[in-house]
């Protein structure tokens, strides 16, 4: 049946750890991971709760294919209410801990309440206990990882942890697992730290042995591995360049936001691209990229393993940053680089290392630095705030300093740690925050790619590319090419991508498989593994159900139609693209929105109608 059928419920207030059966009726309707954990959150918490209070819960959830041999079957999600957006948050991560959790016999771990003192959760198969974490509270993720591995003398212990940024209240802290994989967005790490939970350490030796039809499963898994291998994106582009394969492509079509989204192209794009990561450095002749790396069970292997030049100003006399670690992916390289106009690859890699070491989201961090740079150049933020550091666009020194400050929550880092919305509001320029629902945009400009703008505006976790990646269609032609500059047909496209994504995010598989696979590839793998009948149609409907459930949660939390929009800069003539193929264009999100609501079966205020809710069983 491929679910373990077991949930671990951890009450941090009481210090109790209890096993309970998974609700299998819900599993048939919400599958796993994002969908199923969201169902539990919706059922068990008040959407109006304080995200950082004891009434909020945090759920770590695997999908039914997590821990199996299905290619990319190593994902897990963290679902909670976000302190950054006050909306539902679902952050998804690969690495190895998701599979380990499953191999230990757990579909999900639900954390509730708040511990009176710092603790970590240790899980070894059926055994689970909360342990005093006072020795590692106030330390980084990397230190915590090493400390736990030493303590248990087990190199195969898999660890998720929060760093000092989360502890000091950074609103976009993530949860880092396996040193450099991240449930990165929307401040899920901030929630974890607010519960005085430092880490989750898991060792699973039971494995997954309850596949419904093992022979059929192995056959469809093998067939679909071949499809990934033969696809030019998943078989060649992603292994060679990672998601960074996009940097030059997106810049060329004029959709690479720069200077806090004032521009849509960046002169230094090549310097920070996937191609540049392969080029030998002048100083030591070695490229930034050492190798690509896979998450559990993944036959794509898009991960980047990189080094920083030992002589680079950011790491002089800092030996702990001289070895290999998780390198730049596209969204991080864009936010840390293009949006701040810093074209120094090693400086970006350094900032990325710090994001992993102390657990904070490089997208929101980079975009917040970019907003601060704009405020600095306007004279609104001055040397008084920055402690004398010139905070101009293009300054690698400012970027490195900002990363160090946010990592530990010191100095100006305290303000940067609140995200651009709060920063810009504080300094009287809310219009300079490039966010939706309080969360910063990723690396695709809604002026040059119309569909993605509509997706940002309507995404249930604030601006986000991986809720409905219409870039696949509008730029890469997957599954069919659409014109990025037109709005016609985009509401339907956005809905289709959003629903399919919600289904993939609930399965245990990685969204990146959908460059090569669609629901007709994923459904047979689920059907061979899981109890019940899993068809492509059922999956799409499940995705739509998840989307509408998240929407209902958000509306109860206070979201309205007015929040389904983009900053003025991106949707007005004054902010129109000044260069490239999208020159003169701005996002026509408001033109697309009514049709989107209609396609969704929502009324003109964006509220799901009773008919829609009944159809989806909500």
């Amino acid at each position: 049946m491929s679910w373990t059928g077991k949930i671990l419920r951890v009450n941090l207030t009481e210090g109790s750890v209890n096993a309970e059966p998974l609700n299998m009726e819900w599993a048939q309707q919400y599958l796993g991971q994002r969908g199923l954990a969201s169902k539990y959150l919706v059922e068990e918490t008040d959407p109006k709760c304080d995200p950082l209070g004891p009434d909020n819960k945090m759920i770590m959830a695997t999908g039914p294919l997590t821990g199996t041999m299905a290619a990319t079957g190593g994902r897990y999600s963290v679902v909670t209410k976000s302190p950054l957006t006050n909306c539902i948050a679902c952050s998804n991560s690969g690495g190895f801990i998701g599979a380990e959790m499953k191999h230990a016999g757990w579909d999900m771990i639900i954390f509730e309440g708040k511990s009176p003192s710092p603790v970590y959760l240790y899980v070894e198969d059926d055994h689970a206990e909360l342990v005093d974490a006072s020795e590692i509270w106030g330390t980084s993720v990397w230190y915590t990882d090493e400390w736990l591995h030493n303590r248990y003398q087990d190199p195969l212990l898999r660890i998720s942890a929060v760093g000092r940024s989360a502890e000091s209240g950074c609103l976009y802290a993530g949860i880092i697992n396996d040193l450099h994989r991240a449930a990165g967005r929307s401040g899920v790490g901030t929630v974890m730290a607010s519960k005085n939970l430092k880490a989750v350490a898991v060792r699973g030796t039971l494995g997954v042995g309850n596949i419904k039809d093992p022979a059929r499963f192995m056959q469809v898994v093998n067939e679909n591995k071949v499809i990934l291998a033969e696809n030019p994106v998943t078989g060649q582009g992603l292994p060679a360049y990672g998601t960074q394969v996009l940097m030059n492509v997106i810049n060329e079509i004029g959709a690479l936001p720069a200077r806090n989204m004032q521009e849509v192209q960046f002169d230094g794009a090549h310097d920070i691209s996937g191609e540049a990561m392969h080029e030998p450095r002048k100083s030591d002749g070695k490229p930034n990229l050492t190798t690509n790396a896979a998450c559990f069970g993944c036959t794509i292997a898009c991960g980047r393993i990189s080094t920083i030049d030992k002589g680079h100003f950011t790491v002089e006399n800092k030996a702990k940053y001289w070895g290999n670690s998780g390198g730049l992916e596209y969204e991080a390289a864009w936010a840390l680089g293009a949006d701040t106009e810093v074209n120094d690859l090693d400086a970006l890699t350094y900032a990325n290392f710090l994001c992993n070491e102390d657990g904070y989201d490089p997208i929101t961090f980079g975009a917040t630095v970019a907003a601060a740079m704009e405020l600095y150049e306007m004279g609104v933020i001055t040397d008084e705030q920055t402690g004398g550091v010139a905070f101009n666009f293009g300054s690698a020194e400012a970027l490195a300093k900002a990363a160090e400050w946010v990592a530990t929550g010191e100095g100006f880092g305290k303000e940067l740690a609140l995200g651009s919305k709060r920063l810009c509001e504080k300094y009287g320029h809310p219009e300079l925050s490039m966010t939706v629902k309080g969360q910063e945009f990723p690396a695709y400009d809604p002026r040059g790619i119309q569909g993605i703008g509509l997706n940002y505006a309507t995404s249930n976790r604030g601006a986000c590319h991986v809720r409905g990646y219409t870039v696949a269609s509008e730029v890469l032609g997957v599954p069919v090419k659409t014109d990025p500059l037109v709005t016609e047909g985009k509401p339907e496209l956005v809905k289709a991508f959003q629903d399919a994504t919600a289904a993939v995010d609930s399965s245990g598989l990685c969204l990146f498989t959908t460059f090569a696979w669609d629901m007709t590839n994923i459904a047979p793998q689920l059907d061979a593994a899981c109890e019940g009948e899993w068809t492509p149609e059922k999956l799409v409907e499940l995705g739509e159900r998840v989307w509408n459930m998240e929407r209902q949660y958000n509306m109860q939390a206070g979201v309205t139609k007015a929040d389904d929009t983009l900053p003025e800069r991106l949707k007005s003539e004054e902010g129109a693209a000044r260069t490239g193929p999208a020159k003169g264009r701005y996002s026509e999100v408001e033109k697309m929105l009514p049709e989107y609501y209609e396609k969704r079966g929502w009324n003109e205020d964006g509220v799901p109608t009773d008919e829609t809710l009944n159809r989806l069983g909500l």
């Binding site: 041999m69 039971l206 494995g207 997954v208 093992p214 559990f296 080094t307």
Partner: protein, 148 residues
């Protein structure tokens, strides 16, 4: 070699019907600081230490594949073979009370077919060097006009 663990999953599934790296006969080691991933398993020694150390002759030569196979019905779980093996590729499985090691899947190793990057290949032991030789031969400059 990117550390995906497909080989470990294929191995544990083939031998125990479960996706479980901790029951795999092949293991992938990650050297994080160096950015390296190394799969490692039994080399099927000709004069196998494990075989010689076994007090109950539970490890025998499979004449078809050349593998040293563990006979589960004979193994008493004394673990002497795990000490004898210089490479550590024989390991104890506490849930069965027997040792486990690579048996080449009877001549069709599942780790090989599962590997997406051909980091693991199955070749005749008498010819393990030929592919490398071919590569070097290709580099050799034997163009007559070049030496003229």
């Amino acid at each position: 070699m990117h550390g995906c663990l497909q080989c470990e999953l294929a191995c544990s599934y083939e031998h125990e019907g479960v996706f479980n790296p901790s029951r795999s006969r092949i293991r992938v080691f990650t050297f994080h600081q160096e950015g390296r991933f190394v799969p490692y398993t039994c080399t099927q020694c000709a004069e196998a230490w494990c075989q010689q150390a076994c007090p109950v002759d539970a490890i025998t030569l499979n004449s078809e594949t050349g593998a040293k196979d563990v006979n589960d019905s004979a193994c008493v779980g004394c673990k002497v073979c795990t000490i004898a093996c210089p490479f550590g590729t024989v390991n104890y499985n506490h849930s069965t009370g027997k040792v486990i090691k690579c048996d080449l899947c009877g001549g069709d190793p599942k780790c090989v077919s599962a590997c997406p990057t051909q980091a693991i290949v199955y070749v005749d032991a008498d010819q393990t060097g030929y592919e490398k030789m071919r590569q070097w031969a290709k580099e050799t400059d034997n163009n007559p006009s070049a030496s003229a």
